[in-house]
Symmetry: C2
Subunit: 98 residues, 2 copies
């Protein structure tokens, strides 16, 4: 059960950064290459790449090489629900039934 907690934490940690959160949000709309994601979040390309490797390691995204480019995509549509869920928690009054 420690393992279960650790696994959860790893996944949650992967989402606990502005750039990574935005990238996952973007990936929910379809696959993207690293350049596109860099345009989205800004900063150095290497930084973006490292963020992506964190997402990859957590199991949230998968990669596929096509030519010189690497295309990242969400492995699970759950992420969309995840954000809605977080949004519900943010809504302090909990109006939307949570």
């Amino acid at each position: 059960m420690e393992e279960r907690v650790a696994r959860r934490v790893e996944m949650i940690k992967a989402l606990a950064h502005p750039s990574r959160l935005m990238m996952v949000d973007e990936l929910a709309r379809g696959e993207r290459c690293v350049q596109e994601l860099q345009t989205l979040v800004g900063g150095d390309m290497s930084t973006v790449s490292k963020h992506l490797s964190v997402l990859k390691k957590s199991g949230l995204v998968s990669v596929e090489r096509r030519g010189v480019q690497m295309f990242y995509s969400l492995r699970c549509a759950c992420a969309v629900d995840f954000f809605e869920c977080v949004e519900s928690m943010i809504d302090e009054d909990c109006r939307n039934g949570c």
Copy 2:
């Protein structure tokens, strides 16, 4: 929209630690005082207290003093759905419809 992302990240970060995750999971079953939570996660009382202040600051929990004790409780049942959601994401095959 930057603000929206920042708010989400703060909430997610609050859950991105084993002790805090376990405490929230426990609080989903009802309010608990600090001692009880310390028994659950172990470690120094002051450490537990600081973790709780992180949860408090994020808006996930609320506190009420009764006598000498401080009782923490979840502000929103959403947290339960949240965990289910994370669990779904962990399930790589996404069988359960996510």
